[in-house]
Amino acid sequence: MSEESKAEKFLEIFNKGKEFTEELLRENQRLRYRLASLETEHAGGASNDEVRRLREQISQLSEENRRIAQRFREVEEENKDFANRYIEIEEQNNNLANLYVASYQLHSTLDFREVIQIVQEIIINLVGAESFAILLLDEKTNELKAIAYEGEDVMPGLESISTRLGEGVLGTVAKTGESYYVNQDIDGGAITIEKPLAAVPLKIKEHVIGLIVIYRLLQQKDAFSAVDYELFSLLAAHAATAIFSSKLYSQSERKLNTIQSFLDLLTTTT
């Protein structure tokens, strides 16, 4: 082989090597580009997933937060209800204690004067009245007359109250058996002997035997509360039976004494 053909052969091999090298470089560049794009694609995909996951988590937490806030409001409402119920139960408890003590005391004696004294104590201490009167109905004359009173210094004339059944406020209460209350804030006007603050009938079933009439409450008690009305009516019912039975008892005791004296007289003379 001549020197010239050797050179051509070498040049040809060199060119092929050059082409092959260039092709390798291109392939390398293409792969690098592909790798870079894959890396970017991969990185971008992971970030989106994370964001999606975090968004879902935020959404779940927000929902839970809303649910907890809602439950908190419900529990708060329940708490308020419980607190109100507790106050109501305390008031009822108080009323029951008052009623228990009042009825216990009212039925602890058959002495008429003692019963009246107990009714007065109850009206002062449990109802909170400063000026009041207890009226009894005389069934023969149909007249209501004061048999006990308190606070005549603030309401003169208590001792001489006398009214006929059906006449005026007091007579109407005794006739109808319906309690009478004045709401001072709404009704206003002066309280008089004829127009009291409250008049509650002393009733045994539907039979009215008298009235408890309130003219003024103690200084520290502004007005009757809702529970007072109920308590007052119950007290009046107990007071009525206690007054009625003690009155009957004292009458029968008087009759018994008369009969006993008569028998003694008969025994002595025979």
């Binding site: 305390e90 008052n98 005391q105 107990i118 104590e121 449990l126 109802v127 103690l218």
Partner: protein, 127 residues
């Protein structure tokens, strides 16, 4: 002094009020309730064998009223530290001030609310 096993002296001329107050005091576990009908009777009970942890007294009573009783208890070296609650129909501010100035620890106007009475006693006995 705790609220259990406490001895209370109730000074009231009205049997109804004595019973009502005693009824409320039964909320305290093992409470012993000693009753007196006026100030003189209360002083006798105070000098008796029972230790008294708290006195509840009315003002308007025959023989000796509640204000005199408060004053005498506060002057007595052995009794002066006993807490006293005045329970009365006298609701005027000057009456309250007079009662507290004499040495009463609390002043409650009638008609009493059992819950208020219990709260007041609990506060005084837990000090």
């Amino acid at each position: 002094m705790g609220m259990e096993n406490a001895n209370f002296l109730v000074v009231e001329d009205s049997p109804t009020m004595r019973q009502l107050i005693s009824f409320s005091l039964k909320r305290f576990k093992n409470a012993k309730i000693i009753e007196a009908v006026d100030g003189v009777d209360a002083l006798k009970k105070l000098s008796g064998p029972d230790r008294i942890d708290l006195i509840l007294t009315d003002i308007n009573m025959p023989v000796m009223d509640g204000l005199k009783l408060v004053s005498l208890v506060r002057q007595n070296a052995q009794l002066k530290n006993i807490p006293i609650i005045i329970i009365t129909t006298e609701g005027a501010e000057e009456d309250r001030e007079r009662g507290l100035a004499l040495g009463a620890n609390a002043y409650i106007s009638k008609p009493i609310q059992s819950s208020h009475l219990i709260k007041t006693i609990s506060e005084l006995l837990s000090v």
